[in-house]
């Protein structure tokens, strides 16, 4: 009878101790969400433009992590992003076949702008400044060329244009591949 009492007591103590240990471990060594998705999201441009077909960069990163999207999904990221994503996910890509996108930004045609204020309300990076019935202007440094404002402009005053080349940004062209 006494043996049974010792067994019950020791097993109870053991259970409590291990349970406490597991509980503490679960509290301190908690894994929050999907770390891969969060890591991938940091690599993406983060302008939430939606050109990949996903509602924002978080969803795109989630899809990438789940293997539901290709590493070539992000048009603004260009070849550099494909390279970094492929390196992180261990995917093989032929970089020569990835089309390089030239950086583009939106530009307001002053003579067409009617100051309707629609564009700056949709701009994900606050890159457009304007007020009602005043000509709007795009800050080149903040514009990501995401196309959102082009869709809402009633007069086609906003147009996407390649970023102008300056003495600071100019560099030698890639030599022609003749051989």
């Amino acid at each position: 009878m006494q043996m049974i009492g010792v067994a019950i007591l020791s097993l109870t103590l053991l259970g409590l101790a291990l349970g406490f240990l597991l509980g503490t471990a679960a509290y301190y060594l908690k894994v929050e969400g999907n770390t891969l998705a969060a890591e991938l999201e940091k690599l993406l441009p983060g302008s939430q433009c939606g050109q990949c077909g996903f509602p924002g960069c978080t969803a795109a990163a989630q899809a990438l992590a789940n293997g539901q999207a290709a590493v070539t999904l992000c048009p603004p990221g260009g070849r550099v992003l494909v390279e970094t994503l492929a390196a992180r996910l261990g995917v093989e890509v032929n970089l020569a076949q990835v089309k390089e996108t030239i950086p583009i930004i939106a530009e307001v045609q002053e003579d067409l702008c009617i100051g309707c204020t629609r564009c700056f309300k949709v701009c994900p990076t606050d890159a457009i400044l304007g007020a009602a019935k005043q000509i709007h202007v795009v800050f080149r440094e903040a514009c990501t060329g995401c196309n959102q404002c082009i869709a809402v402009c009633p007069t086609e005053s906003l147009q996407l244009k390649p970023v102008p080349v300056t003495l600071q940004s100019w560099y030698w062209e890639r030599p022609a591949m003749t051989v």
Partner: protein, 489 residues
């Protein structure tokens, strides 16, 4: 003195004979001067004159702004005719902010006080005067000299090396300067030494300039300046290579000369420093070699900064035949000019006009992996492997092979029997990497903007909800009060 061996390097035909025996002549004042506001590495200078202002020669027309920058001075007395865009001396031919000056012909200097005994000035005062004179490295890179002096003084540089190697073919300006204005160059060198407190001063001159070596050795007798003949080998004038040959020390990858306690200045810079401190003359002229097979009379000219290249060629008797290529700088590292309407700037060591015979128009053929480029590379890189990576769009692979240590000297392209433009690939890759860096910075900035916007929208929504709730509560309270009143009545 024991010299150290340089790996790689090439022996191109120097062609210096064309202009080496021509004494430096002053170019007559041109009708117009186009003075770009950025002739140096760093931030552009800010104009301090208006259109219509009259200026003296040597008067500041644009001040340096930021830590690394240089002031710009009027190259002659006259009237400011325009401030605006003008084609830059740059391979792209893009415009740069430029002040156009109409000379009045009087060439009147703005008189400045000069110290009685320049060598008794404090090192800080020398650096300050060098800064005020707008002096930049005249060897070609055009880095503001005062910044170099200050950094070197603070890091207590042991050795000052003066670069008189002039290893680029065709160029003879430094050679002539050392031969004709020897004592002034030595005075400048002693000032530079005093400004950084260096122990040793070594002047390295390539041994194909024997007259310059003799003149400099004679003038340096009895001073702490040591003039040392060094082998003629391109790219001896690259500062890392020069330091290696003279001291045996090698600059670590991604490192700077100050890391090995060395400072390098060009002989032209030493001369400019002397002019600034002994005479109070800021940097408004420089010696330019006008040469090349297409030039009628190759010469060395002292040219006001901002003179159009066409004036230089005209003064040298025009063209003997139509040039097929125009260059600013040397043939190895110079930049191609689209036309002759480009101004001479502080970093212009020469302007060259080449005939069809002088340039190779050979067709590019496939790489046969002969490794000539490997033997020619003065850094010890593997150009053929780097190009293979760049062609496959694998820029990171090229970086792992040492792309960032490439000095773009062009030795590999020069020796390549298949005429592959190797250095062009490296320049492209470096530019592409810089562009990627800029894109990354922009993405970080726009990501922050997008996050801020989302936060703001969420906050506004919360505030609206709170306001609506408050209104509802107020309305309810009012009704309740009305009910109470109604009941009371």
């Amino acid at each position: 003195m024991k010299l150290f061996r340089l790996q790689g390097g090439i022996h191109p035909d120097t062609c210096k004979i064309l202009s080496a025996e021509q004494p430096i002549r002053s170019l007559p004042l041109p009708n117009w001067l186009h003075i770009p506001l950025q002739q140096h590495i760093g931030a552009s200078a800010k104009p301090v004159v208006k259109v219509g202002d009259r200026v003296y020669k040597g008067q500041v027309i644009a001040v340096s702004q930021g830590a690394v920058s240089a002031s710009i001075h009027a190259s002659t007395s006259g009237e400011i005719a325009a401030i605006g865009n003008y084609p830059a001396p740059h391979p792209s031919g893009l415009p740069i902010f430029t002040i156009t000056l109409k000379p009045d012909g009087a060439d009147r200097w703005l008189e400045q006080e000069v110290p009685d005994e320049p060598l008794t000035l404090s090192p800080e005062a020398i650096a300050m005067r060098v800064n005020a004179a707008g002096i930049v490295g005249l060897g070609g890179a055009a880095f503001p000299s005062a910044v170099k002096l200050n950094v070197s003084r603070r890091s207590q540089v042991q050795t000052l090396i003066i670069n008189g190697s002039e290893c680029e073919p065709y160029l003879t300006g430094d050679d002539r300067l050392m031969r004709e204005r020897t004592s002034a160059v030595i005075q400048g060198i002693r000032l530079l030494r005093h400004a950084v407190g260096a122990q040793d001063v070594l002047v390295g001159i390539e041994d194909n300039k024997s007259q310059a070596i003799t003149a400099m050795q004679f003038a340096a007798m009895g001073t702490e300046v040591q003039v040392i003949p060094i082998p003629t080998l391109y790219p001896m004038g690259s500062e890392k290579q020069l330091v290696k040959v003279l001291t045996g020390k090698e600059v670590p990858a991604n490192g700077r000369l100050a890391d090995i306690s060395v400072l390098v200045h060009n002989v032209g810079t030493a001369y400019a420093v002397r002019q600034a401190i002994y005479l109070g003359r800021p940097l408004v002229t420089r010696v330019v070699t006008v040469s090349g097979g297409a030039v009628a009379k190759p010469s060395n000219l002292e040219v006001p900064i901002g003179t159009l290249v066409e004036e230089l060629f005209r003064f040298c008797g025009g063209f003997r035949e139509t040039p097929v290529r125009l260059l600013m700088g040397g043939p190895m590292m110079g930049i191609q000019l689209p036309n002759t309407q480009i101004p001479v700037v502080k970093g212009t060591s020469g302007v060259l006009a080449f005939t069809a015979q002088e340039i190779t128009g050979n067709r590019i053929s496939p790489c046969i992996r002969c490794a000539s480029c490997l033997r020619a590379c003065p850094i010890g890189l593997q150009p053929l492997e780097m190009v293979a990576r760049i062609r496959a769009h694998d820029l990171n692979g090229a970086i792992r092979l040492g792309l960032k240590d490439c000095i773009a000297c062009g030795s590999c392209s020069y020796v390549c029997p298949a005429h592959i433009p190797l250095v062009h690939y490296f320049n492209y890759a470096k530019g592409e990497l810089a562009a990627r860096e800029r894109i990354k910075l922009k993405q970080e900035a726009t990501r922050k903007l997008a996050e801020e916007r989302m936060e703001r929208l969420a906050r506004l929504a919360r505030e609206r909800e709170a306001a609506a709730a408050a209104r509802q509560a107020a309305k309810a309270a009012k009704e309740k009060q009305a009910n109470v009143l109604a009941e009371a009545i």
